[in-house]
């Protein structure tokens, strides 16, 4: 007699594999970028923006303001790479603490991080690809 539990698990596994195959290539890429982005976020961003993206008081803004992120989608890479020195209104509050540059991050790493924050903390921006980041970075206006 075969153990019914094993057969159930087997069926589940088959369904999972099939579901994965059905997922678009972009979905898989997004999951990969997201996972890589999470650890980069921990080491580069979490100190200020905190683990759950809530920021810290009026010092460091939260990353939970989805409409801000959506509205500045093509500037996010510039923010990360070159830092921010301008006043921003996030979560209906004004922020003007300087965010330091991360000039050591590659376009790909920035894409990982942005895909992570863009799909965490209640945000749903989808995949932010390396190509998208490279294009954004060519058009940065740096405000000191």
């Amino acid at each position: 007699m075969r153990n019914p539990l094993i057969s159930i698990l087997f069926v589940c596994a088959v369904i999972l594999v099939l579901a994965n195959a059905c997922q678009g290539e972009e979905e898989i890429k997004k999951a990969q970028f997201f996972a890589n982005g999470k650890s980069l976020y921990t080491s580069n961003c979490e100190n200020c923006h905190s683990q759950n993206g809530e920021g810290l008081s009026d010092l460091y803004p939260p990353l939970t303001d989805t409409s801000f992120l959506r509205g500045h989608r093509n500037q996010l890479a510039c923010f990360v790479k070159y830092g921010i020195g301008q006043q921003l209104t996030v979560d209906n509050r004004k922020f003007d603490t300087k965010m330091p540059a991360n000039s050591n991050l590659t376009d790909q790493e920035i894409a990982y991080i942005l895909t992570y924050i863009g799909n965490s903390f209640g945000n749903e921006l989808g995949l932010i690809s390396t190509e998208e980041v490279s294009t954004s970075l060519k058009n940065c206006e740096i405000v000191e």
Partner: protein
């Protein structure tokens, strides 16, 4: 079977006593001294203490060691533009402040190690944005020698280093000082568990004075 409840009570007593008798160690260097009291030679211990200091706070007011005489306090070293560990230290100190808000026996003393950039005005802005007002948490500015000199006395390493993130190399210790300016504990200000330990230890230390 009959013996169990009695044993339990004894054990409870032991646990309870153990807690109320718990005392924090005194850290740092110590020196024995012998002096004469009533014709007898008595050996006493002199503990390392924080020497007198004087700095300017976020309200541009001079504060010194006397302002801390009747309180226990937590000291740390940070700078406002610090990209690495300071934001977490500040966040954790905010927890400490909120727990002891209004308690005149508890203070916090944050020394800026960026003595050039972190003027009282910059410190005030930082404090305000952090949501800190009042004088329970002091943010202080001083000369480079005085700040780095006192860091040594708190046994915290701090040094200007252009290759470190933000330009300064330093440790994230939160140092607990008693009313006699002796060091009673050192906690990693970036570690949540150690910060809860700090707050437990502050309760124990406060009991010494009551």
């Amino acid at each position: 079977m009959k013996g169990y409840p009695a044993l339990l009570i004894v054990m409870l007593f032991l646990i309870a006593c153990g807690q109320s008798n718990k005392k924090l160690p005194i850290l740092g260097e110590r020196e024995p001294t012998t002096k004469e009291i009533d014709g007898k030679m008595v050996t006493d211990t002199i503990y390392q203490t924080i020497p007198p200091f004087s700095f300017i706070n976020q309200d541009s007011v001079i504060i010194n060691n006397k302002d801390f005489d009747n309180s226990i306090y937590v000291a740390d070293f940070f700078f406002t533009s610090c990209p690495s560990i300071c934001p977490i230290m500040s966040k954790n100190l905010l927890k400490v402040l909120n727990k002891y808000k209004g308690n005149k026996e508890v203070k916090i003393l944050s020394h800026s190690i960026d003595t050039k950039y972190d003027t009282p005005w910059v410190l005030k802005k930082y404090a305000t944005k952090l949501g800190v007002n009042g004088d329970q948490w002091q943010f202080v500015h001083g000369s480079q020698e005085s700040i780095y000199g006192i860091a040594d006395k708190y046994m915290v390493y701090a040094k200007e280093n252009s290759s470190a993130p933000g330009g300064f190399e330093h440790q994230g210790w939160l140092i607990l000082i008693d009313k006699d300016k002796r060091i009673r504990g050192a906690y990693d200000g970036t570690n949540d568990e150690q910060v809860s330990q700090l707050m437990d230890d502050m309760d124990i230390l406060l009991k010494e004075y009551h």
